[in-house]
């Protein structure tokens, strides 16, 4: 079996590819800009400039042009075009699209190799987190003292909205993007994802959507938070059009990715890889993908309705025409709460893997873990209205929604039991992934317990819209999901690069981030308990000290993330060599060479036992 790099040395470049030979990220950007200009130009010349909606129509036309041009430029439309005319890809074409013998250039192309897509997702996640993180620092700098004017209030509001959505998008893909692509097919014993071209489509569509979302910062005027509440969203400036279109495009990406993940796992498992032998991370990826398929159509529809209200004067959210903002709230949160678990489950699945491998013990109560994840996914679609307790919508349903929300704590509790049960009396290997895992456990307990408080209607009535809620969900997303994502990165990094993530820098990063999270968000809890509202660019003097502490903590988190970034970059070329199976794990991704060859396996393996059966010879000495 040869590695990808070795393979490149003695094989001539494939002759296929056709138009794709001239397509890459640069042509995608050029295509996007040209077609965006074309959309702008056509709208300017063919639409009534006296219309109240003219600027929205021009913007929407521009955004449609952008995404179409981006797809055209990157090569996403080559496949459908060739299918249409019956000129299917040849083997040489497929090999070219898979990036064979193209070196690093393939990372800038519409590459179908799942491992390349996984690495592209790592970079994309880092870009999104970086952009969102810079905005977070700007927000915290504005709030370091009351009455600060680091940015003006409208810009601040825009920062809050774009920060929120960038981070949500980043965390949706933070684990599922890189690892459901890079390791899940290998874990199943497959040669690639079920639909390699759709795989590339999901990645590059996300890139296009991110471009639209970042454009909001340039045009401004998004002043209503990341949930873009109606009817304010109907009245906002053209930044809202960019925002809504970016979400619609993003949901295309997640839908395609979800279908691909499920089909890969359900139809491409190698012989002997029964469902009961699947690594637990694969289960988590499938459940999260299925939940995403359920949730994201609501997201897409609610943003489409916002666009229609703004562009064509429909009345979905306009009371004068029979609409209501509650419709937006319902549709948004029908997506919004399951989305939390679309984000969380892959991270939890990765942590189950890490707990097992690093403790040299099987996943404790494997079936309970699957039941917990499935139960969580099922319950998550029944809790959306707890976000609306204080809006006055359907007060009689408050009790049932409070109950379903509190029931969520049961499957969530199972996660703790599974992780702790797995590590209990294990020979725990305190390496970087394990350290981030412990950070997750600590933070997730705080996130979970404060969540139970907020699910209680009387307390929610007091705390809704305060910084307490902000602190709660940051414990979920930063303290838990981000820690889980970094643990997964540290765990599978050697499989991607052949090198360990720098242990020393990783530990420095961990302690900065861990202490930073506690300083930032515990102080933020106090601000919230004292009544400080969210999304305000200034505040009363009574919140001065806690906000100062929060900002200092946020800088610590930033410092930790910068150290981590440094570790990732440095270790990529200078890290300690890791070999193909540095953790002495049993799942298939560790049993192939590093980096894995183009199609993962020369001969497909036949599985005869589960991946957590650690034998003596594999136990770390």
């Amino acid at each position: 079996m040869t590695s990808t790099l070795e393979h490149a040395a003695h094989t001539s470049a494939p002759e296929g590819g056709g138009l794709a030979r001239r397509q890459n990220f640069l042509t995608a950007m050029i295509g996007g800009v040209v077609f965006a200009w074309l959309g702008w130009f056509l709208a300017h010349h063919f639409l009534d400039s006296s219309s109240r909606n003219f600027s929205d129509l021009v913007t929407t036309s521009l955004t449609i042009g952008w995404i179409f041009g981006f797809w055209l430029g990157i090569g996403a439309l080559n496949g459908p075009g060739r299918w249409l005319i019956g000129a299917d890809h040849t083997r040489a074409d497929d090999l070219y699209y898979a990036g064979e013998n193209q070196g690093r250039a393939r990372y800038w192309k519409y590459c179908t190799d799942h491992k390349v897509v996984g690495v592209q997702y790592i970079v994309m996640t880092a870009v999104l987190l970086g952009a969102g993180g810079i905005l977070a620092m700007a927000i915290r700098t504005e709030l370091i003292v009351p009455g600060n004017h680091f940015v003006n209030q409208q810009v601040y509001n825009g920062f809050v909205a774009v920060h929120g959505m960038l981070m949500i998008l980043a965390l949706i893909v933070a684990v599922a993007g890189p690892w459901a692509n890079f390791v899940v097919p290998i874990m199943c014993g497959a040669r690639d994802m079920a639909f390699p071209r759709l795989n590339a489509l999901s990645l590059w569509t996300l890139v296009g959507a991110a471009g639209l979302l970042l454009s909001v910062l340039a045009v401004g005027s998004l002043t209503m938070g990341w949930v873009v509440l109606a009817p304010i969203a109907d009245q906002a400036g053209v930044g809202m059009d960019f925002f809504a279109m970016s979400i619609i495009v993003f949901t295309v990406s997640t839908t395609v990715a979800g279908v691909n993940t499920i089909c890969t796992v359900m139809t491409m498992r190698t012989k002997g890889m029964t469902l009961a032998r699947l690594p637990i991370f694969v289960w988590a990826s499938v459940i999260a993908a299925a939940l995403g398929l359920y949730a994201f159509p609501y997201f897409s529809l609610v943003e489409a309705q916002t666009l229609l209200d703004r562009n064509f004067n429909t009345s979905f959210f306009v009371a004068g025409g029979g609409g209501t903002g509650w419709l937006q709230a319902n549709l948004f949160w029908l997506m919004g709460h399951p989305e939390v678990y679309v984000i969380l489950l892959p991270a939890v699945g990765a942590l189950f893997e890490i707990a097992s491998v690093m403790s040299r013990k099987p996943v404790f109560s494997y079936r309970t873990a699957i039941a917990g994840m499935t139960g969580l996914a099922g319950l998550s679609i029944l809790v959306w209205a707890h976000h609306m307790f204080t809006t006055g919508w359907a007060p009689t349903l408050g009790g049932p929604f409070m109950l379903t929300t509190e029931l969520i704590s049961i499957p969530t509790g199972l996660f703790f039991l599974v992780i702790i049960g797995t590590m209990w009396r294990g020979n725990v290997w305190m390496k970087l992934p394990t350290i981030w895992l412990f950070g997750f456990i600590f933070n997730f307990i705080i996130a979970g317990i404060t969540g139970i408080y907020l699910s209680d209607i009387p307390i929610d009535n007091q705390l809704h819209g305060t910084m307490f809620v902000t602190a709660h969900f940051h414990y979920v997303f930063v303290g838990s999901v981000l820690f889980g994502a970094i643990a997964a990165l540290a765990f599978w990094y050697p499989k991607v690069t052949g090198r360990f993530l720098d242990e020393t820098m990783g530990r420095i990063s961990f302690w900065l981030a861990f202490i930073g999270v506690q300083v930032t968000f515990l102080a933020m809890f106090v601000s919230g308990l004292r009544g400080m509202p969210r999304r305000y660019s200034s505040y009363s003097l009574i919140f001065e000290h806690t906000n100062f502490i929060t900002t200092i903590g946020a800088y610590m988190i930033m410092a930790g993330m910068l150290v981590l970034l440094g570790a990732v970059v440095r270790s990529w070329s200078h890290g300690e060599p890791a070999g193909p199976n540095p953790w002495h794990a049993n799942s298939l991704e560790w049993l192939v060479p590093t980096p894995p060859p183009l199609e993962n396996f020369d001969v497909l393996p036949v599985i005869t036992e589960d991946p957590y059966n650690y034998r003596e010879e594999l136990v770390r000495s």
Partner: protein
């Protein structure tokens, strides 16, 4: 994980960039069928959300404006500009009621969609029975033609959605009631479906004419048929709901 790397040589093959690992067509077909069902599942959620929107707005009937709006009916922009520029200004707006959209036209478009689905289904059955790809291509073109006609009438439906002129401060605009808004998005999503079917239909016709779909390679015909039938079913469900549950008495 215990594995035996000597036993099996490629039971699975490869989905995309075929490195010499060929997969049996039925394996690829099963995978693609699952994908189509999952996409249909996503589409079912979208349809449910559309119907939720429709029934919810009808249910809450905010301000009694499900099918009405305060404004002016039957006037052009020019009329508004003149009125605003005149010394008298605009007259007092009145409550304008809109009627339901044509149920006949709605069902006609639905019927066309069902007919096109029936043609595609019959074509596929015929292909599998007779192995006659030319016949299949011709029937696919016929299905495309029916779909294009359906698109034409869908555009007519959109054109027929009544708007109400509303004066806001010194500008006038054209607005749609909640009923009209929901119908616009429902009809619009139907049109997107029809465009997609037209694309797939053209693909089937060309591919079968070029031999990419034939009596032995009919899997893609079945995949497209599955989606086509779902679109027809969803059109029937949506038409049934929107033509029977619309006005508020």
């Amino acid at each position: 994980m215990s594995i035996d790397t000597h036993a099996e040589h490629d039971a699975q093959g490869h989905g995309g960039h075929d490195g010499g690992h060929h997969e049996p067509p039925e394996v690829v077909d099963a995978r693609q069928r699952m994908a189509i069902w999952l996409f249909i599942g996503g589409d079912i959620i979208t349809m449910s959300a559309l119907l939720f929107t429709y029934l919810y707005l009808r249910g809450v009937n905010t301000g009694g404006h499900w099918m009405s709006m305060v404004g002016y009916q039957g006037h052009s922009y020019a009329w508004f500009e003149n009125a605003l520029n005149s010394s008298a200004g605009l007259p007092s707006p009145t409550l304008i009621h809109v009627g339901t959209l044509s149920a006949g036209l709605n069902w006609f478009v639905t019927a066309l969609t069902v007919v096109s689905a029936a043609i595609v289904w019959a074509a596929e059955k015929s292909l599998r029975a007779t192995k006659n790809a030319k016949n299949y291509s011709a029937l696919s073109w016929l299905a495309v033609l029916v779909t294009v006609v359906a698109i034409f009438f869908t555009i007519k439906q959109l054109h027929n959605i009544p708007s109400i002129f509303v004066a806001q401060n010194d500008s006038q605009t054209m607005s749609y009631t909640a009923y009209d808004s929901t119908m616009m998005v429902i009809i619009g999503s139907g049109m997107i479906h029809l465009f997609l079917l037209a694309f797939l239909g053209v693909g089937l016709a060309i591919r079968s004419a070029r031999g990419a779909i034939n009596g032995t390679k009919w899997f893609q015909a079945r995949l497209v048929r599955l989606f086509w039938v779902w679109v027809a079913v969803s059109a029937v469900i949506i038409s049934a709901v929107t033509t029977t549950i619309n006005t508020i008495h």
